[in-house]
Symmetry: D3
Subunit: 285 residues, 6 copies
């Protein structure tokens, strides 16, 4: 019996967080290991469903690099990378869209629904959700092809789904002014969705512990100023740079907190939202 | 970190229950030790608030015998008991009402609000909630005075409060056709409120473990037939008889399950609702 | 027949007032003789119910001094008075709350409902209605104990009841930041409730004719400036001072008119609201 | 002051009626002397407005014989009568429509609005309110021309106006399947409107005291059976026959009470609805 | 089949206009030849109904000079004209109201309903729609009698009808502060109704092609500045002057475009709204 | 000008159909030539958008055989056919889903949005729309793999989108009880969606003229009895059999009319819905 009472106490510990985030939007970038490991996939689905049942409003944005690679390979299409991004010609773009929207997105929708949620998959074309344009980068020589950036988020389909308690799962594919399809970095889409929906939190699931200091020790909390300083001084490097940048931008546009957390931990999202401890690195406005 | 993950898993364990009771009314009879011990009082308040935050609809009905006794004593009013019920003349009734409605009820309201809930206290006069009449008992010689029984529950004030997410706390005082005030057994009121609000569960907090068999061992589950048999055969005795009877009646009127649980256990309500184990004795239709 | 036609004409006379106050809140401080005399009690109840049926929104705030005294006496608790207010230690406070909330309030609720209304009793704890603190009075030597003043009115429960056409009846008991209970002057509570609900009128039922001039003649109408002048010059005295002060404050906070009227007259409230003549003294912004 | 209190008591006397008819539809056939005398016109307008302000739903249907006659005369159009109804050829019909809809109806609308109501005039063409056909009368030799009878009431425009608290004023002109215009007896239209709107009461304002017995004494109340008997036995005669018949029919179709009252009495409608005495003859189902 | 496909293409051509004017109010002044010719009447009714079915919000305002003249003549009432307006004494005003409201208005209502629409006729008295006063004209010697001008439009009845998809048809009769009836120029009423309802377009159906230049050639488009210049310089004359003036005023008050079109062309309204070509003269802000 | 008037008349011709189908659901199976030809694609998109703007509720279900074949070929996956259906092992199923959901579906969504509509793509997993199971066919020897049939349509996501005027575009992929993905015939899905949404019409776009009689002449209309007879007697053959069967079934489940029409004709859908002529073969209940 005593252990049962301990369980009840743990439920009660979550009460201040449930209250605080009641009816608040939380945008989660889902990807990496958490999207491949069967145990982590289940723990992710349950976290999202629990969030919604206790009154929060989760929105999922996902990536899908590895799956794209495998299909391209099978189809004998070669692709090069530039600064971590896939150079995307139109043949490649077609495969990217098919895999992200027709495979990865629907697997996540199926996963959540299979565990008892009610989710609906979207890409940037649905309801004109993600208006995009070609990634502009004055200093770039390389033409990245159909790699895009977000022009505008049209959140009306998200509001429609929210009002009827459907959980949106978004593939990072945007649509251009002439109907063209753009491949956009998922962290970036998550950040923009968070701003457009006035989200309380942006959570990026990664395959690392968080942001480390120069001694390799996890930094639990950073202000945007500190985070910017670390980027400027080269103290953050590689794939973490765009993540931190899109956190900083989301915070500037009104999101309250951004979190870079370790998706390899079971129930990482719940830990972040519902416990005193928190995990990974938070960046605050 | 591992212990944190365990906590998250415990949250997840509650998911099937949160889903099952989402938007369902749960009527809790609050009384006894749980209403006196400071620790238990806090655990009760948090349980009720959590229930509401995760989407359930709790309604509290309370008793208050000991507090009434103390005030009567101070005022030098003597009262006799008959079959466990206080013979209630009109002078006594006035004190009963003052204590239940003006003291016990508002203490509970204050307790819940102090811990972050939004509750409103009611007695049977408010919005005509509990229409009552004199307790009729053909075989009785003793005149019980203003001891009453429920004629009709008018749930409109409960619906009004539910729609705006206020938690009703109800004192077991009814109003007669000519405006007279009746003292009604709180278990009985809880049962009738449960039927009238089409509650999913009726939970009676007691100062015992539950219903025991003839060897003194707790019986975890009874059908209404079995419960009736035990009452008829005298296997249930004393103060437990009216409790079991009002459970049986509530189940007949459409409540799905009734529970007689041990209010001396911390978070007894959460344990009953949100864990696999359950506690005390359940009676099912 | 002619007398019947006269009756119809009297109904018609009320039309401009019904139209003017349609859907407007009127806060009535109920107390004194009107709360003791059986005939006046009935006339009060009918006035309130009629107001609501013809489209106004009445809110009742009541006092209860004499009833408190009687119970304190029975319980052998002595209490002293300072400047017309009862010095309220915590033992006394408990009795004050019991009597106001558990006896006086529910008697009024019962009275209104008995005559066909739908009223609900509230104290300052219900829905966090009256946030209070200890009465601060820099110049006071005497510690008044749990005598409080209004910090904030949270009108959400009043709006909830209004939308479903319940008539709120409010006991002047407030709740402090740590859950403590405060005894507050009922006129003061009525004034604050009137401001918070943007009431059109504040009506104080008293046991005098109204405010008199220095020749003892009733003054039918005063501006706030004139009323303030009379208070400052000592032309108003005794128990009338706090009443006038709380009228002035309510008018400053947006209430349109305040009335100090003679509750000993049958249907005093209707006379004030629905006839050309008006009664007592009105104070206008 | 005493006379003022008497006034308030008279207001209170109306309370049971206000409550009883709250949100109920009352259809009033307006005509005769009450439509010509300036004092009675004003008393009618005020009665209707008061009804609406205190929560009832009045619908006015009017006649207009004398005004039609005057215009026909001015235009040099002769018309004959048959059994009290004007034989209506198409030239006459055009005048009937102009006068009823363009003159009488708008005068009543203006009258009500001028006294502070919000009314909207309608004829049977507006929103397809009154679907009509040629009056069929197997035993008639005379062709009555465009005299019609009600086929169907389409109450959607009445519901639209009711929801926004406009008072409908209806001219008894119907529209045939091919768009033709019919002149219909106003009592008949009032009865059909009452059935179609599930009215609580149908009130016919006449220029007589009510229905008299064979000694010329007013009969205060009749059952439909008794009324039918009186018609069958010739105890009711002349213009009263169609009035009684349309009351009987309305009662059969669900209207609760029909009243034939004396429109020459000031505030006749209020007297009927809001006083114990009632006036004229009521016919009850 | 090919001709059928051509038809479908024509439907598709209307799509941009349907989208542009979706849920927008269009005020149409109906009069002249289009109100007399049977074929044009039908084409008008169908145009209005189609507009509504495809999501626009049409409001019709009509004139009725010729019909008034005929009835005045029959009744032997003489009337003089001053600057194109009928001098309207009170006897004449009565006829004007009867004809406009009781004949012309209901004919149009009947016409629209007969073709499958749901229209409701209104005059300025209904719901207090058109508040008017005596036409003031400092330079006038002639007393025009009951000729009025618009003081205020009270659009609440129009909004009520719009929400339930009734088509309002408005007779240009206004009501003065003392209930007096005013005869107002229909173009003027249409302009004021357009401003008050924030209409997208004001369309005046006339018996001419539009506004011509000094060589008699139709001018397809004018700015308000150009239109004002033409009026000032006398390049627009006669009955066209008040029409142009009321267009200019409506545009100043927020209407987007005003159109003076040739009502003698079948489906003139549809041509104006749903085709690329447009007809007549448009005046733009 | 005359040709413009002809255009307006053509718009007017569509009025009876717009009225008849106002707010009615129309399910369109989109496929074949109409999904490949650029001109037909545009005409399809415009037809769907126009339908919605004029008040109908279109739902699109699409196939995608040829596109699937091309991708399978590129990936070197071979697939066999049995009775016109692709034997679908799990590797093939993955490609089918990717192509239908990630390519074909989003191309259609993009097409409609590009022309000004607001559409959202769905597969059977989204919101649990299409609950499926393995196609059961007692007489079959061949195992068709992941070819499925509809168990249940859960229309809640369709209602959500309808209320906010999004056009749903559905890929015929279902989800099994254990989350497995099924490939379902698109005609069949269209028929089931039509029944579940109580559609007025089911329209199948094909690459033939319609159903022909034994002389090869188009049959414009068939009863379900006649259609069944033709199937039973072998008068309908090949790919037309399942189409006719799913029409018959939809009609039995309450759809009013089913149409097999020639998608090679421009604006085939508009022709069917908005013109007197109709095209292809209709089957009526």
């Amino acid at each position: 019996m005593q252990s049962e009472i301990e369980k009840a106490k743990i439920l009660i510990e979550s009460l201040p967080y449930i209250r605080k985030f009641s009816n608040q939007t939380i945008v989660i970038k889902y990807g990496g290991h958490a999207m491949r490991d069967e145990g982590l996939k289940k723990s992710f689905a349950l976290d999202i469903i629990l969030m919604q049942y206790v009154g929060l409003v989760p929105i999922v944005v996902h990536g899908g690099g590895p799956q794209i690679g495998r299909v391209l390979e099978k189809m004998g299409i070669k692709s090069s990378f530039h600064k971590g991004m896939r150079v995307t010609d139109s043949e490649t773009m077609e495969v990217v869209e098919m895999v992200l929207v027709g495979k990865v997105n629907k697997d996540i929708v199926g996963l959540i629904n299979q565990h008892g949620g009610r989710s609906v998959g979207l890409c940037g074309k649905d309801g004109g959700l993600i208006q995009a344009k070609k990634l502009s980068s004055s200093t770039e020589i390389e033409d990245m092809g159909m790699v895009g950036q977000v022009e505008l988020i049209n959140p009306s389909i998200l509001e429609t789904l929210k009002n009827k308690h459907f959980i949106p799962v978004i593939a990072p594919v945007g649509v251009g002014p002439h109907g063209e399809t753009y491949n956009i970095n998922a962290d970036l889409v998550a950040g923009k969705i968070a701003s457009a929906t006035k989200a309380k939190k942006l959570i990026l699931l990664t395959d690392v512990e968080g942001i480390n200091d120069d001694k390799g020790k996890l930094i639990p909390s950073l202000s945007t100023g500190e985070a910017q300083y670390m980027v400027d001084k080269g103290l953050i490097s590689g794939g973490m740079i765009p993540k931190v940048n899109c956190c900083i931008e989301a915070l500037k546009e009104g999101v309250e907190k951004a979190h870079i957390i370790d998706g390899r931990i079971e129930h990482a999202i719940l830990l972040e939202i519902f416990t005193d401890k928190g995990i990974g690195t938070e960046i605050v406005a």
